[in-house]
Amino acid sequence: MRLLRFVARRLLQVVPVLLGVVVLTFVLVRVLPGDPIRTILGPNATEADAAAARARFGLDKPMWQQFLDYLKGLVTGDFGTSIQSGAPVGSELALRVGPTLELVVLAVGLALVVAVVLGVWSARRADRFGDHSVRILALVGNSMPEFWLGLVLILVGYSALGWFPAPSGRVDPDTDLTPLTGADLVDAILTANGPAFTSALSHLALPVATLAIVVVAPLLRSVRASALEVLRSEAYLAATTHGLRPRTLLRGYLLRPALVRLPALAALVFGTAIGSTVLIEYVYSWQGFGQWALRGLLYRDYPVVQASVLLIALGYVLVFLIADVVHAVLDPRVRI
């Protein structure tokens, strides 16, 4: 109950932020140089054609009118019509979110698991060779440009070794996967499509690995530092001197207090990972959200940019909200 109230209050705080994002985006795309209408008409269109097209998208109205229309649409869940494709932005959005989310969630999840396992392992061997190597390896991963790493992994994993499928899709179409959510793994599970699951997984392997390698370092650092702090804390010392069993020590006295600080960082990493996917999606031909948003921006597809920025912002604040809730659940000291 208290949790619900907390969530409600936080959601309320989110409103002005989202409103700010909406206004900022709306203004920003319109002050950018360039004409969205010209990009859809081709070089031979006349001014009359352009005016007609402009009217079709309501771009002939005064700015405030356009903004009100946009807001009205948002309230009713209508994101407008893409200037490029003429299709409703909402449905395009729905197609694009799944793939990106699948990629980011898996990568951050993988990074989290690796970070926790290696971080605790590393903390327990603090300042020994194993600890040092793990940390430096993580830093090297973190220092690589993701697009470069992606290219290297493709060259090795697909071109040279042939272990992974060609970087040109998300699932083998021959598996006849019925798209439901857009996240192929999830769809494969929902439709109990075994071959599709395997195929989706093999397509995901390289991009997920790339993203995970790039983001694991800060998580690992945090887990290691927290675990080390716990290991050196009086509380852990007390538990040790009272002769508790190793398993009890690990689960009750090391892991949980060491992990309380992780959710906030995981949320931050999630946020940057979403940013990184623009590049990774490109390298792996991943038809995701980032590509869509960037293309929308290059063509000044106002509704697409507005919707994608709003969605990323929403995702961002929601992830932080979730992180706060998880933190509150993990850490009894947090008052909500």
Binding site: S233, E234, Y236, A238, T240, L244, P332, R333
Partner: protein, 662 residues
């Protein structure tokens, strides 16, 4: 039958690249079952290292010599399996900072059952009983509490229950009462005595504060620079210590009977190898060539000391004749009239009522002591006087001016007239500013030119007996004592009308405390300004205050001349405070009330915040319905005032109580 614990010639040398530390050098110590042994000494003396050696948990790079025998087996030579049993079940540690020693994300009940199931295969019901046994009210509910939800005293009780929950043969408590109120300290120490008496456990009490553990120990060992300098029966060591260090240690503790603290100069050395001479020699007034040439062995039977020139006779000098204290007649520098302070919560409603109608005057040349338990509003009072907190009603006048009516430069100038000396000496100095900067800051506000500033800073520094090289240092390069001297210098430099000392010594080591108290006593006599001395420790206040104010839950419950309040306490709360103040004489409370039975308050309440009636009603042994209903104004009784209508009846009530108990 051998001793429960027998430490024989234990040496711990910690080897680290570039720096070795001889943490312990040839320590002998013995604890029997059913016995409480005190291990005392200043910080850095190696006390905690002894505790860690007992459970074989030494830091990396430690080289040990000698043996730690527990029931005959050498702990230092145990294998993992044997250690697993020994730790907890053989010897269990209670930690200094109980809240830090409890895992923050696990309920205390689970932490307790973890221990119970590990060592005894017991369940939650046993846990509840254990909680009850250490005096936790509502044990069933407390089992589900998280450590941060507990008060300090409660956490310490939980810690004790955790340690005893392992059913250890030996309980080792590392500074179990540091940071606790006098009343709580007594209560906690009793738990250890109880563990020894009822359960027949051996108890090793580690403390820097001799006086506080004096009451419960059978035997005492004094540690200095990793060596035992004296050990023996508590009565002997505490009353007629032979070793100069023990004597100095005892002398530096102020006593509630009025005996002032006597400081010894210098600080304990950090040894890099076992000492070849008497480690105390450099600070010892009686040291001779012999002392610096060779190390005295611990000699004697039962009562042992390591000294070539042992002293004899009581350590604590008789209280000096009380200096005549006349009521101050100087101008009023601080006047508080019926001040209330409410710390509002961010969302409006609620808020914490920290002060409720406090009136106070401080005159130039006068030192006013403010005492009370933690949470009574002492610090708020300090903040109020300094203008850091605004009264929600009532008035504050500093040097005749209301600081809250001032703005800008005027306010800033006014602020330099009242200065605060903080409880946390290092924390009150900006980490990135030099000492010179810190001391000179009030002068900067007064617009004193740089050259003159430097001059005055140097001057005040000299007065604090600090070296001028200090000026360039930053806070983390200072010891606690030095930092506090800097703090006092900063308070002094602008010639303020009022200096407020907010528990200035509570964060310091005993001998350093005594040094700082010396400095403060020296300043308090100055007729040009008034001083306020805030402390939870009555003994410290008694030394140099003219008047004393006793605060309880934001109200003044008693005030008057210091001799009157201490010599003839009226309010039950004042009486209880005095009763529980530790004393070296093995018992508690000193002075004229020795003979008088003590007043005890109901213990450890969950934040009682009575809106009506006497605030003490919930804890007072003499409570009546009228107390609960009627607010108690300060009423003059003799030379002092107390907020209790039953004052005239109390002496009789106390005698009655004593008789019925007898």
């Amino acid at each position: 039958m051998s001793d429960l614990l027998s430490i024989e010639d234990l040496s711990v040398l910690i080897r680290r690249p570039g720096r070795d530390v001889a943490a312990l050098s040839g320590v002998d110590l013995r604890v029997d079952a059913g016995e409480v042994v005190g291990l005392v000494g200043e910080s850095g003396g190696g006390k905690s290292m002894v505790a860690r050696a007992i459970v074989a948990l030494l830091p990396g790079g430690a080289e040990t010599g000698g043996a730690v025998r527990f029931e005959g087996a050498d702990v230092l030579a145990m294998d993992e399996a044997a250690l697993a049993t020994h730790r907890g079940h053989g010897a269990a540690l209670c930690f200094q900072n109980p809240r830090g020693a409890l895992s923050p994300t696990r309920t205390v009940g689970r932490q307790l059952t973890d221990r119970l199931t590990t060592h005894q295969k017991l369940d939650r019901e046993a846990a509840r009983q254990l909680f009850e046994a250490v005096g936790i009210r509502n044990p069933a509910r407390r089992l589900d509490a998280y450590p941060h939800e507990l008060s300090g005293g409660m956490a310490q009780r939980v810690m004790i229950s955790l340690a005893t929950g392992c059913a250890p043969g030996l309980l080792v408590a590392d500074e179990p009462t540091t940071g606790l109120d006098v009343t709580l300290t007594r209560e906690i120490l009793r738990q250890f005595r109880h563990a020894a008496d009822t359960d027949g456990r051996g108890v090793l009490l580690i403390s820097h504060d001799l006086a506080s553990i004096a009451s419960v120990c059978d035997r005492v060992a004094v540690l200095y620079a990793g060596t035992v300098v004296e050990s023996g029966p508590a009565a002997k060591v505490l009353r007629e210590p032979a070793h100069p260090y023990t004597r100095a240690l005892l002398a530096s503790v102020p006593d509630v009977s009025g005996r002032p603290a006597r400081a010894i100069g210098g600080a304990m050395p950090l040894l890099s190898s076992p000492p070849a001479a008497c480690p105390f020699a450099p600070r010892c007034a009686h040291a001779t060539g012999e002392c610096t040439a060779s190390r005295p062995a611990l000699a004697g039977d039962g009562w042992q000391y390591a000294c070539f020139h042992p002293r004899s006779g009581p350590a604590a000098a008789a209280p000096p004749p009380a200096a005549e204290k006349r009521p101050a007649t100087g101008r009023v520098v601080m006047e508080i009239d019926d001040a209330h302070v409410v710390y509002g919560s961010r969302f409006g409603s609620g808020g914490h009522h920290a002060l409720r109608g406090v009136s106070l005057q401080v005159r130039a040349g006068e030192t006013v002591g403010v005492v009370g338990e933690s949470g009574c509003g002492k610090s708020t009072l300090a903040r109020l006087m300094l203008g850091l907190a605004a009264p929600s009603s009532g008035t504050v006048r500093l040097a005749g001016t209301d600081p809250h009516a001032q703005r800008g430069r005027k306010l800033r100038r006014l602020r330099t007239k009242a200065r605060l000396v903080f409880q946390d000496p290092v924390g009150s100095l900006s980490p990135r500013r030099t000492v010179a900067d810190a001391i000179g800051e009030p002068l900067r506000a007064l617009g004193v030119p740089a050259a003159e500033r430097a001059e005055r800073v140097a001057e005040v520094l000299a007065r604090m007996h600090l070296d001028p090289t200090m000026l360039r240092r930053r806070p983390h390069e200072l010891s606690g004592g030095q930092a506090q001297r800097v703090g006092i210098a900063r308070a002094l430099v602008g010639d303020p009308d009022l200096i407020v000392f907010d528990e200035p010594t509570s964060a310091l080591d005993v001998t350093v405390q005594a040094q700082i108290l010396d400095v403060i006593a020296e300043l308090a006599g100055d007729a040009s300004r008034g001083s306020v001395f805030i402390s939870h420790d009555l003994a410290t206040v008694r030394g140099f205050c003219d008047r004393v104010v006793v605060l309880y839950l934001g109200r003044i419950v008693e005030q008057g001349p210091v001799e009157e309040v201490f010599g003839n306490p009226r309010h039950p709360y004042t009486r209880a405070l005095l009763s529980s103040a530790p004393s070296l004489d093995g018992g508690t409370a000193g002075g004229p009330q020795r003979a008088e039975p003590r007043v005890e308050l109901a213990k450890d309440l969950d934040e009682a915040d009575a809106a009506t009636g006497c605030p003490l009603a919930a804890r007072c042994p003499f409570v009546t319905d009228e107390c609960r209903a009627q607010a108690q104004p300060l009423v003059a009784y003799g030379a002092s005032e107390a907020a209790c209508w039953r004052v005239p009846q109390i002496p009789a009530l106390i005698r009655e109580g004593a008789q019925t108990r007898a």
